[in-house]
Symmetry: C3
Subunit: 158 residues, 3 copies
Amino acid sequence: MEKRLNLLMFSGDYDKAMAGLILANSAREINIEVTMFFTFWGLLLLRDPEKIDMEGKSLYEKMFSTLTPKDIEQLPLSKMNYAGLGKAMMKEMLEDEDAPPLIAFLKGARKKQVKFLACKLSVDILGFKQEEFYPEVEIVDAKVYLEDALKSDIQLFI
Amino acid sequence: MEKRLNLLMFSGDYDKAMAGLILANSAREINIEVTMFFTFWGLLLLRDPEKIDMEGKSLYEKMFSTLTPKDIEQLPLSKMNYAGLGKAMMKEMLEDEDAPPLIAFLKGARKKQVKFLACKLSVDILGFKQEEFYPEVEIVDAKVYLEDALKSDIQLFI
Amino acid sequence: MEKRLNLLMFSGDYDKAMAGLILANSAREINIEVTMFFTFWGLLLLRDPEKIDMEGKSLYEKMFSTLTPKDIEQLPLSKMNYAGLGKAMMKEMLEDEDAPPLIAFLKGARKKQVKFLACKLSVDILGFKQEEFYPEVEIVDAKVYLEDALKSDIQLFI
């Protein structure tokens, strides 16, 4: 029977998002089905930068939408404090190894049919709209996540 | 057979605690058994604010007990640095959606018979006492956690 | 059949590394097989401090190698901000309880035959070399991690 990987993407950190998306891409390459359920800061990964739309947002939602990075390459590292190792340095190190940037792993996951779910409660709280996400993103509640996770062979909270 | 969810709650962040408690509540609503094992900063979620007791604590334990938030609504966000999105702003956004605060999800989990375990080693290191926790909290070692996790269908480290 | 625990060690935080290594040691004591797959900051746990070698590293790799803590006891806490609870205070609290330091749990895990895997992509990006790690560390790709995780009964992302 087909094996399944389920990733709960809570974090919006560049390095953690990369860890999750590398796992998702690698899993698809060996025919493992992958579901990624994005919640809280993880939702920042799902926004289509071309489609951000302020209409109908509350003041806080507008502020949140304006102040958070629309380009996922601008997401921060989870650790900036190892003696000043900065994001710029990390990106240079990636380039030195010809490692693709985060956006390439996101594109790869989309192309490889990873299932993208977004947590309805988080979407409502943070004021996102369906139209702001990539079109394949489905907005679902925590029960849909749990049912998918129950069917999966590996579940991780990232 | 009954399905089981096992959450290892390491973090004492407001947003991560909320993610864990929303999963716990949602799981109980669809009849999944839930165990939450609290360790390190996660233990801050289990203290009954009415029952904090300094007697017999070492100087460091007293400092720790005094300086950490007794009211879980005061716990920090895991990210404060997305362009200044602060805790206050997040709480306003929760209220705008009529989303309950963290304490309501904790009360819900207690009412719905989520099993609360506390890690003995962490309890000892941080100087907590059984009487300071909610009465249903059981203090157990990592092996009890592992045995529960082995029987579970989903295990997450939050 | 033998039970298996699989830990993906992403974090290089002192407290999270301790949580992971305590689980690994406890699991071995009840005959659970343990694999730890180290990636990103987690790789800092695998360096043999006696064997750090700058030869052939790029400028960024040298900076990274020089600036990150070689002694794992110097790794930072994931939270320093709970009202100033610092690393020094945490270490005093550990000593008060005669709890072993992180390095003791790492030694225990090595002695108890925990399987140590290092993520090839992270090793390349951060510029580590096989000879800098403890000798039993195997450098493998994400697919080897996934295959091990699929065979495991518990999988956690730490």
